[in-house]
Symmetry: C2
Subunit: 226 residues, 2 copies
């Protein structure tokens, strides 16, 4: 772990720092994305619903040529490094219309990431993938404006409670504001009080009365028409 001098006034102490980058995913990220989605299914005790394959993810999320980000299904990848991440590595993503967001997080204690080799970034340079966010456009008819819906925010266990989820959500909110979107929406489980307090603190409203209806599997197939 890289260490940097602490703030003036306590020069004897050093603080552990991790450098972060949020960038657009591409096809080369699919193996990591597939593993992250599976971990998310395990976390939510919903592996029975997990049927994604690397092939299905590639064909549905990464068309050739790529679509502009935030206008269709979009995945952001959160990468970490022990050393500062050079800006020069961002050129590919900037061409697609999203400038990677660099940051750093001061750690209160050392983080052990037992999965760091499994989640090595395809971009190399010792970067490790720590999480992802999946979003796509939605629409507010009352406003007559597009918005962005965040389907998934996931950070691997070793890196939780460090503000990384918020970094990704803020990246989307910033992009939504820049694009003139009317709103950003996502879902939370009603018993997840920590998450709800956290989202409220970001300025989000949790809508108490709306429930999601879902038609899937055989019940959906019944509606197939010739």
């Amino acid at each position: 772990m890289t260490t940097v001098p602490a703030a003036a006034g306590d020069p004897s102490k050093e603080q552990a720092v991790v450098f972060t980058r949020i960038r657009l995913a591409d096809r080369f990220d699919v193996p990591n994305i597939h593993r992250l989605i599976h971990q998310m299914a395990e976390f939510e005790l919903l592996t029975n619903l997990f049927s994604a394959t690397e092939s299905s993810l590639t064909s549905t999320l990464f068309p050739s040529p790529p679509l502009p980000p935030f206008r269709s299904f979009t995945i952001l990848i959160l990468e970490l490094s022990h050393s500062p991440i050079p800006k020069s590595a961002d050129d590919d993503d900037s061409n697609l219309g999203f400038r990677p967001i660099l940051g750093r997080i001061v750690l209160k204690s050392t983080v052990v990431d037992p999965e760091s080799s499994t989640f090595a970034s395809p971009r190399g340079n010792g970067l490790v993938v720590a999480g992802f966010l999946l979003c796509f456009p939605n629409y507010s008819s009352f406003m007559g404006l597009p918005g962005i819906y965040v389907e998934d925010i996931f950070v691997r266990e070793a890196w939780r409670r460090l503000g990384m989820g918020k970094m990704m959500l803020a990246a989307v909110a910033g992009e939504a504001a820049r694009l003139g979107c009317g709103r950003v929406e996502w879902c939370v489980l009603d018993w997840n009080e920590n998450a709800i307090a956290f989202y409220n603190g970001m300025g989000a409203e949790v809508l108490p009365q709306w429930r999601i209806c879902r038609l899937t599997g055989e019940e959906l197939s019944k509606f197939a028409v010739d």
Copy 2:
């Protein structure tokens, strides 16, 4: 109102019938769509959130050239006629990849529609617009498959409780099944027991634990980045 002979066994009675068509909306439908959305805001007691204009709807929902339906924001229009709607009028929509769905509904009593001239269809032929549905793609990462999210289903007051909302929802479900989508989702208010019972009857599951989080207005603007 057109009348047709009743079923054999009671030849003395005639039944009122209305003929229906579900088709893709286009730019010429925007004035009607704008009025329908405003009625929906009134119905939900949310006119304070209504800021859509014909101009914002046109520019955000109807790009030139049009995108394929169900791959981006998509509006279906429900039209009614007192007489059978000829199939020949469907050519335009078929070219875009959605074949209009024709139907008929036997009415138990005469329907008076005081707004029929306000909601005349731009397609002429005495067609009247009775409602609309707005949907767009969403994505299930567990399935690794796109789905369809239905943002709005609205039928004007005169034509409610006749199954027209279900006709539009079934049209989307049929298209979703045909396109290989993993699921169709929409939202319902938790106190709307009739709607919940109706959706359950269609085979849909109402998810009890998820809540929608929304970041909008000034709280969203704060995230704008340079």
